[in-house]
């Protein structure tokens, strides 16, 4: 059945307002400068709230449409008409976009609200809200585009906003470096995405979702082309979502203000990669190898992230590696295909709630601990910050998958689907996902216990930790409610996501291949989680040493990010550095690993090439003569040879 999106009419013909409102607010905040100093943050919050309300209205009008035609496509204007290629500035509002819109604006609104309190003492609050609104607008554009180019426009927009926000405190060198690293690593991913777009145009003659999917369905492209296309999109997705091998920027991005970490680097932007793959599901489903690669990336990253998460001592870094790992689950889900697409999306939504809640909770802790982030110097905080403790605890129980919290409903089915993948790979990926669940339980228990329980290990200057103001705790509570209810709501209620998304992933699930049954999977997972939890509890019940202790090879490796940076360093950076030596001035401090190596390579060749620019006109003339010789010889060789 060819994919076709009906034109929007009625209420849905105004979906462009979703993007326009936060964008207008961002423009006002950034352009009018000091005039908006007093009420700017309120405008920022209000604009996101307005988008959220609109999102709800649109959601219900979309529900009102009959099921097979549940999509609205809206062409605003011709964006880039180049000959045969007509790129339209068009929006698509379908069930998939709808839930992303609700997630972005809903969680976004709560985090905006929180940020009013969190940033109240910061001079740059107006600028912060300007960037923040810009981010929301770009993210909405990303999920609302009806073709890959518009998605890419949003994609770059969120990248830019994230870069600006990570380095928001530009006077901290670490923040500036992290911003740079994020930008450059994302460019690597973006290059994959751009190349994929051009390849689509070359293969299908269009970059519209509908045309591309129909092209795939009607075998308009060979399997190899689809594989390459998918791998390029996957590269883009890995860059944005912090998946292996482009994972290194995400933990460093925690240098930004905490609301940024919560919104961009936990709930929304980093899930853009999952969105991209889910959106391109006809393409990914069309090639089995491609799916296997996605699953492998997901499985590897989820283990990778959870192992490192267990060895970090910075509260935000633990959460960041946890994000990397949880997105690994989502990749696993979208890679499995079939019914698992919806599972991945459910996990994405649930994760959006509990991870945002965890980050905001971490922010609340830091707020009272004078911006310290070292969990070895926390402890016993539950007495002083009960609301934070309770909400953080709910998020914690949710992420490790204790029933009936949302993580249980979202993660377990993914593990089960992984086991039920056809062939021996099912056992492999299933075990990886299961092991990951145990590790998650371990590191999250460690984090929770070290922060809130056990003896106080505070630094001297902290006397009375206090609970955060209401403007910060209300979002915490609301998000905690979300992390309790979301899972059950999305799976069993009339709002269940599987049915809702059926028009998007219209391929009926190829079930029937069952290695293990549902109850087996759930039971096993539960046991593994309990083991992880117990180990964590036993080890860290009495606190931990405030300094780093000598450790065995596993922990040491995990502390060193599993040698990810070192791997990059030896494979990419060293050769590049040898090439350059000290030939050139190169501002490479702090951009490590892959990026550094590439930069050094480019810089090195740049330094060498630069020596041809002597400044003497006779040597310029000589190079022109050489060029003339080459061009004449080449022309003759091509034409006559």
């Amino acid at each position: 059945m060819p994919v076709h999106f009906a034109a929007a009419h009625g209420t849905l013909s105004s979906i462009w307002l979703l993007v326009a409102i936060p964008l207008a607010s961002a423009a006002i905040l950034l352009l009018f400068g000091r005039f908006t100093e007093r009420w700017g943050h309120l405008l920022g919050v209000a604009s996101v709230l307005a988008s959220f309300i609109l999102g709800l209205i649109y959601f219900f009008s979309l529900r009102g449409l009959s099921s097979p035609y549940r999509a609205a496509s809206l062409n605003l204007f011709d964006f880039i008409p180049v000959g045969g290629l007509k790129v339209q500035f068009g929006l698509l509002y379908d069930p998939l976009s709808a839930i992303f819109v609700l997630l972005i604006t809903g969680v976004g609104f709560l985090i905006h609200l929180y940020a009013v309190g969190y940033m109240s003492h910061d001079e740059g609050r107006r600028r912060f809200f300007g960037y923040f609104n810009l981010f929301v607008a770009a993210m909405l554009l990303l999920v609302l585009g009806n073709n890959y180019v518009i998605t890419f426009v949003g994609w770059e927009g969120v990248g830019l906003a994230s870069y600006l926000l990570i380095s928001f405190w530009y006077d901290r060198p670490a923040a500036a470096t992290a911003g740079k690293k994020a930008f450059i690593m994302n460019r690597v991913g973006d290059a994959g995405f751009v190349t994929a777009i051009f390849l689509m145009f070359a293969t299908f003659g269009s970059v519209n979702f509908a045309d591309v999917f129909n092209g795939v369905a009607s075998h308009g492209a060979g399997q190899t082309t689809i594989l390459i296309l998918g791998l390029l999109l996957l590269l883009g997705a890995c860059g944005k979502s912090g998946q292996f091998p482009l994972q290194a920027w995400l933990p460093d991005a925690m240098e930004g203000p905490t609301p940024v970490s919560a919104l961009i680097h936990a709930a929304t932007m980093v899930t853009a990669g999952v969105y991209l793959i889910a959106r391109s599901n006809p393409l990914f489903t069309a090639n089995l190898t491609l799916q296997t690669v996605v699953v492998a990336v997901g499985a590897f990253t989820l283990l990778f992230g959870s192992i490192i998460g267990g060895a970090k001592d910075d509260i935000k870094r633990v959460l960041a590696w946890s994000t990397v790992s949880q997105i690994g689950y989502m990749f696993l889900g979208v890679g499995l295909g079939g019914a698992a697409y919806a599972l991945a999306l459910i996990h994405l939504l649930a994760h959006g709630f509990f991870k945002a809640g965890l980050f905001l909770g971490a922010g609340s802790v830091m707020h009272s601990m004078k911006d310290r982030t070292d969990i070895r110097r926390f402890g016993g905080l539950w007495r002083y910050m009960p609301i934070t403790w309770a909400t953080f605890g709910l998020g914690y129980l949710s992420i490790i998958g204790i029933p009936p919290l949302s993580g249980f409903f979202s993660k377990d089915p993914i593990i089960e689907s992984a086991f039920n993948r056809a062939g021996w790979t099912g056992w492999l990926f299933g075990s990886a996902a299961l092991l990951g669940a145990g590790l998650t339980a371990f590191y999250m228990t460690r984090l929770f216990v070290l922060t809130f329980h056990g003896p106080k290990r505070w630094t001297e200057d902290i006397e009375h930790p206090h609970e955060s103001p209401a403007v910060m705790t209300i979002p915490l509570v609301l998000l905690a409610v979300g992390s309790i209810a979301a899972g059950a709501l999305f799976v069993y209620s009339p709002f269940n996501v599987k049915d809702w998304l059926r028009p998007v992933f219209n391929n009926p699930a190829a079930e029937g291949h069952e290695h293990i049954g549902q109850w087996w999977a759930t039971g096993m997972t539960f046991v593994v989680v309990l083991i992880g939890l117990a180990i964590g509890l036993l080890l860290f019940r009495r606190g931990t040493a405030p300094q780093e202790q000598p450790a065995g090879p596993v922990v040491a490796a995990a502390r060193a990010n599993l040698f990810g940076d070192m791997f990059n360093e030896t494979v990419f950076e060293k050769p590049g550095l040898y090439l350059t030596r000290a030939l050139v001035y190169l501002d490479n401090r702090g951009i490590d690993g892959l990026v550094n190596g590439l930069a050094a390579l480019v810089g090195g060749s740049s330094g060498r090439l630069r020596r041809t620019q002597t400044g003497f006109v006779r040597s310029y003339a000589l190079s022109m003569l050489g060029g003339a010789l080459l061009i004449v010889a080449a022309m003759l060789a091509v034409a006559l040879g």
């Binding site: 002597t614 003497f616 006779r618 040597s619 000589l622 003569l625 050489g626 003339a628 010789l629 004449v632 010889a633 003759l636």
Partner: protein, 258 residues
């Protein structure tokens, strides 16, 4: 212009033309190489004159008397002579260093130059086998003569390009004015009275300046004259001449000695 020259048939070369070609061809080449090779700017200019004259002869030989004459009169006659005047006025002994400072520049230049020449020459030589030369006869007949033919082209097909050349000339003139003409401003202009006052102001020597010294060993303009008391007359040496002693910087070790 004799008809025997103009009558060279299409695609063929008369004996006379061949003889002239083999005389002037090498001359043109020698002139071109010599122009690049010569160390003295005046010699270079004269070599260039030789090349241009030879080219003029070629044009005439190939039934283009007008352009041949223009080549000789305008290029060799006017432009190159002007060039020589300027060289003479500026002084033929310009002290530009001819030592190549860029490593490998000369070798590379010679190699690439020879390569380019070799490539283009062999390619053209190969191509010539299948090219049929037309000659200018038909074109010269069409409008009743060579000059008339050129005129016809200039005023029909290329009239716009021809007119636009005037823009080029204006630009050149404006450029020359910009780069060479120092405007004397009214407030800087001195009257006769001012000039006279300046001449007899204290510190100025109103009489003619003494000439440089003339000795048995040297009559260079850089040698100062001797005053009756045996001291040097500093005024006898023009100030624009550089002092001939090595300065401290010049005699300092350059890092090239063993």
């Amino acid at each position: 212009m004799s008809h025997s020259i103009l009558a060279a048939a299409a695609g063929q070369m008369g004996t006379g033309e061949k003889v002239f070609f083999w005389i002037f061809g090498p001359l043109a080449l020698i002139g071109a190489i010599g122009m690049v090779w010569a160390r003295n700017a005046v010699h270079s200019a004269l070599f260039l004159v030789l090349t241009m004259l030879s080219l003029g002869v070629f044009y005439v030989l190939q039934a283009g008397p007008f352009i041949g004459m223009v080549q000789i009169i305008v290029y060799t006659g006017a432009i190159m002579m002007l060039f020589l005047f300027v060289l003479m006025l500026v002084g033929r002994d310009s002290s530009d260093a001819l030592i190549e400072t860029l490593r490998g520049q000369r070798t590379a230049a010679i190699l690439i130059g020879l390569g380019f020449a070799g490539l283009v020459c062999t390619a053209i030589a190969r191509a010539m086998g299948s090219v049929s030369a037309k000659g200018l006869d038909a074109a010269n007949q069409a409008n009743g003569g060579n000059v008339q033919g050129i005129a016809a082209l200039l005023f029909t097909k290329y009239v716009f390009a021809f007119e636009v050349t005037s823009a080029l000339l204006i630009t050149a003139a404006v450029g020359a004015m910009i780069l060479a003409h120092v405007e004397r401003r009214r407030e800087n202009r001195l009257s006769q009275v001012d000039l006279m006052k300046a001449r007899f102001a204290p510190g100025n020597y109103p009489g003619p300046k003494p000439g440089p010294g003339v000795y048995a060993t040297s009559d260079s303009v850089a040698t100062p004259a001797l005053l009756p008391d045996g001291t040097f007359a500093d005024r006898s040496v023009s100030k624009i001449l550089p002092t001939r002693e090595l300065s401290g910087a010049e005699s300092a070790p350059k890092g090239t000695e063993r």
